[in-house]
């Protein structure tokens, strides 16, 4: 789908939708079991930024990393989550996974 000069993948549109929903949940105080809304919103923004830097062929590695990161938000503080995300990305690059 084209929005102006930019082409958006289906997954990116879903991510943007998720970000909008999270923003609404924070604004209207909708309850979200177990997950911290602000942490999730931060993660979605980071995922959007990093997804913009990746070609579509690396979707699988990216998918596994994102799922793991979202799951870990249940157990780890946000700083450790962000570190985990960036360290994994750097290692993906060094070991030529992406």
């Amino acid at each position: 789908m084209y929005i102006g000069p930019f082409y958006f993948d289906t997954k990116e549109i879903f991510l943007i939708l998720a970000a909008i929903f999270l923003g609404l949940a924070i604004a209207f105080n909708w309850p979200l079991w177990w997950f911290d809304k602000r942490v999730l919103l931060t993660l979605v923004i980071l995922i959007l930024i990093t997804k913009g830097l990746l070609p579509a062929i690396h979707n699988e590695a990216f998918f596994i990393l994102v799922i793991t990161t979202i799951f870990l938000t249940l157990y780890l503080p946000i700083f450790q989550i962000i570190l985990f995300y960036f360290i994994s990305f750097i290692l993906f690059r060094f070991l030529k996974v992406i």
């Binding site: 596994i64 780890l76 503080p77 570190l83 994994s88 996974v97």
Partner: protein
């Protein structure tokens, strides 16, 4: 192969975050732990002294083993003497024992000397990095509110006044604060008093709640979000 790599990377990253982060960063914030910086500064000294240290350690181990063997032999000869009860043999045993005990005592003496030397010349003193913090700094812990404290209904005016009161304290200019959580650090006025100054950075989200203790005293609790 690719999938295996992905899982290994995720496992390595997770272990790195869980094991190394608490030592490098402070209280899950991007601030670097001063103790870690102190360790880094000490590391060249530690590395230079490492071979000498290993040699000293090995020397100590060998001497200790010799001393232990000598002591064990003397114990064995003691028990032998009790069992035989023969005067002549016991005399000869006694002389042996005295010789062994002399040698073991000299061994012990030399061991203690070596260990004291190794302690003096040891490359790394564990307490040294603590000098980064002034001694008056406390080691605070963030505790949950006790169950017998009664939460009072918070009104907006009350919260505002409490925040004003908190913000009105001016710490001394040379005060060094110890970060305890994201955006929160503490400073203890002096070692004699229990008064603690709490610094909350601009932008840190928190609320002030009021609790009534069982003895009727009302306390303000800062709840970090």
């Amino acid at each position: 192969m690719q999938k295996l790599k992905i899982f290994i990377i995720i496992a390595v990253s997770f272990l790195t975050v869980k094991l190394l982060t608490p030592q490098i960063f402070l209280a899950n914030t991007p601030r670097i732990n001063p103790l870690f910086v102190a360790h880094l500064k000490n590391s060249p000294y530690y590395l230079v002294n490492l071979p000498a240290n290993i040699l000293a350690y090995l020397k100590n181990t060998v001497k200790n083993t010799t001393a232990n063997i000598a002591q064990n032999t003397s114990r064995m000869t003691d028990s032998l003497m009790v069992k035989t009860g023969n005067q002549t043999s016991s005399l000869s045993q006694k002389s042996k024992i005295s010789a062994i005990s002399n040698s073991s005592s000299t061994n012990n003496r030399s061991t203690t000397q070596t260990s004291s030397v190794s302690q003096r010349t040891g490359p790394y003193v564990k307490d040294q990095p603590l000098s980064v913090f002034p001694t008056q700094l406390p080691q605070p812990t963030l505790l949950p509110v006790p169950s017998d404290w009664k939460r009072l209904p918070a009104e907006k005016e009350e919260i505002v006044s409490a925040v004003d009161k908190l913000a009105s304290v001016t710490p001394p200019p040379q005060a060094s604060f110890l970060p305890v959580a994201e955006g929160v650090s503490v400073y203890k006025k002096d070692s004699s008093s229990n008064e603690i100054i709490l610094k909350i950075d601009k932008g840190t989200q928190y609320t002030v709640e009021h609790f009534q203790l069982p003895n009727g005293e009302i306390r303000e609790i800062i709840v970090l979000e």
